[in-house]
């Protein structure tokens, strides 16, 4: 199934230009440029250590690139901080599941709503009128996400106790709770079996379909990538070696060489 179905990909919503990132002497990213169109599913692939997570971390304000800039909806900036990025409508999941282990599933996803919650400290302490209503309204929203991800049974369980596949869903749920325009997914299917991958693919496509969320996704499973993405960026050793539709990329010689591993 080709991810194109009934969505219209729109204008460029995220534009990454000439990003270079180094840590000490190690160059993680060299002069990377690509764009992401609204409503599309954009995959970033590449062998291990290619710099894919670092790229997401740059988009998301966790790392500050030394060179280049990122444009989001026409707004240029060089140094984003995580909170500003979150406020602008970019959410992400993490490769290593940065869930809040001490909290329940419900509470974890509710933290994703924090940006939208406006009650002050005193109002919350008294739990009067508006504060109580806001809590309930946000709970409703989160429950819809919980329904969508089919984790109702586990809503009060501390996330630390859930199996890995379910934790990944909670991570996705927390990102969805932010009502993002762009969703950055860092290996959402790592460590999953075939059934779980099918479930996760279905969720990702549903999110893209129903809410029109633009998805940027790092993934190793080629089958999944070819199936659900509209366009693909290929990185290797911090450089871009391919950019195009799944078919174009599949037949790109540089890409094949990178994966099969000839001389560098």
């Amino acid at each position: 199934m080709n991810g194109m179905s009934n969505r219209k990909t729109g204008e460029v919503i995220l534009d990454v230009q000439n990003i270079s990132l180094s840590f000490g002497g190690v160059k993680a990213l060299t002069d990377i440029s690509f764009d992401v169109r609204e409503h599309e599913v954009r995959a970033i692939i590449g062998p291990n250590g290619a710099g894919k997570s670092s790229m997401l971390n740059c988009i998301n304000g966790v790392y500050q690139p030394q060179q280049g800039q990122i444009t989001f909806r026409g707004q240029h900036f060089r140094h984003m901080n995580s909170r500003q990025v979150a406020e602008m409508g970019v959410a992400r999941t993490f490769q290593n599941l940065a869930l809040f282990k001490g909290m329940s599933v419900l509470d974890n996803i509710m933290t994703g709503r924090n940006l939208k919650m406006k009650s002050g400290l005193l109002a919350q302490a008294l739990r009067w009128g508006p504060a109580a209503r806001e809590e309930i309204a946000q709970r409703e929203f989160v429950e819809r996400i919980i329904d969508f991800l089919e984790i109702q049974l586990h809503r009060k369980t501390p996330v630390g106790r859930l199996p890995y596949g379910l934790q990944k869903r909670v991570d996705l749920g927390r990102a969805l709770a932010m009502e993002p325009q762009v969703l950055l997914l860092d290996e959402p299917m790592a460590g999953m079996n075939v059934e779980e991958k099918q479930d996760m693919s279905r969720f990702i496509l549903d999110v893209n379909d129903e809410f029109g969320t633009t998805i940027v996704l790092i993934e190793h499973d080629m089958g999944v990538v070819m199936d659900i993405s509209d366009r693909v960026v290929v990185l290797d050793y911090g450089k871009k070696i391919g950019d195009g539709t799944p078919d174009e990329v599949r037949n790109n010689e540089d890409v094949i060489r990178a994966y099969l591993g000839t001389e560098h």
Binding site: N57, V62, F94, N96, A98
Partner: protein
């Protein structure tokens, strides 16, 4: 100028003494990841054992060669500290493997309360003497440079020398021996060290014994200078900011931190003290450490805390 130099020297010496206690901390933290709140109590316990046995041995055996008596008492005290280390590992550390930092901190606080009570129960709570032959008379130096010369304490100099020797021995131990390497591995990651076959329990007993022996040396020096009394364990609280300043994982850091704090305290008390009614020594070390941490959160030589997401 002469007075300033005397104060400076006094501060350096005091700092050296703090550093002695701090080194014990750092060792235990490096190898077991535990911030040992009980270090001060260990210093007191070691000093008490030494002082009392130095009294009792002549009484029980009629031995009157002070050197021999002190040596024997020191051996008993060292043995006692090894027993304490063994008990701590067996009863506490073994059951708290991989618990969070705050749990371990609280556990050592509990150990500290226990040791305080036990020490005073076994050995009494008055002030006791330790006399290891440290010269008590001051010496006067540089008489031709400053009128009347500078008044320095011989005892402090001896203490500094002992501390220096101790540090050198410890560094050699850590860097050059197999056990030292194992200790460093354990400090890095308990589970990984276990999985390559390092006997965690034995390592911890060794580490805490070494910490205990360092506490004994500190106890002898402090006790000789101030007399062995309960307040020693409170003075040891001062070693915390020393360790923080130097970085929790660095022995040279502990020494440098101790010197900085010792000097800083003395100078601020003499020069700023009169302006605000005195007593600055009680908090200066902490505020200094705090201010320093704001600039460099991991201390002078500590390991940077890196979070991976």
């Amino acid at each position: 100028m002469g007075f300033f130099l005397e104060t400076l020297f006094g501060g350096l010496m005091a700092g050296m003494l703090y550093a002695l206690v701090a080194i014990g901390f750092v060792l235990i933290f490096k190898a077991s990841g535990v911030f040992n709140f009980a270090q001060g109590a260990m210093v007191l316990f070691a000093a008490l054992t030494m002082a009392r046995f130095a009294e009792w041995i002549p009484r029980w055996t009629g031995l009157d060669n002070m050197l021999l008596v002190n040596l024997l008492a020191a051996c008993v005290a060292a043995a006692a500290m090894v027993v304490v280390a063994w008990l701590v590992e067996r009863l506490v550390l073994r059951h708290l493997v991989n618990q969070e930092g705050i749990t371990l901190l609280m556990a050592t606080l509990g150990i500290s309360y226990f040791l305080d009570g036990a020490g005073q129960l076994l050995f009494g709570s008055s002030t006791y003497k330790i006399d290891v032959g440290m010269p008590k008379d001051p010496m006067i130096v540089l008489e031709n440079v400053f009128p009347g010369g500078l008044l320095l304490s011989k005892e402090d100099l001896y203490a500094a020398a002992m501390a220096a020797v101790l540090v050198v021995l410890l560094s050699l131990f850590f860097q050059k021996t197999k056990t030292g390497r194992a200790l460093r591995a354990v400090a890095d990651d308990h589970q990984a060290a276990q999985s390559i076959g390092i006997p965690l329990a034995r390592i911890w007993v060794i580490v805490w014994s070494v910490g205990g022996l360092v506490a004994l040396v500190a106890g002898i020096i402090w006790g000789s200078k101030l007399g062995v009394q309960y307040s020693i364990s409170l003075v040891a609280l001062k070693a915390f900011p020393v360790v923080i300043l130097g970085g929790l994982t660095s022995v040279p850091g502990a020494i440098l931190g101790g010197l900085i704090i010792g000097v800083g305290e003395k100078l601020s008390e003499i020069y700023i003290g009169p302006m605000v009614g005195g007593g600055i020594e009680n908090w200066f070390a902490y505020v200094l450490a705090l201010a320093f941490l704001l600039v460099r959160p991991q201390g002078l030589f500590g390991d940077k805390i890196i979070d991976r997401v």
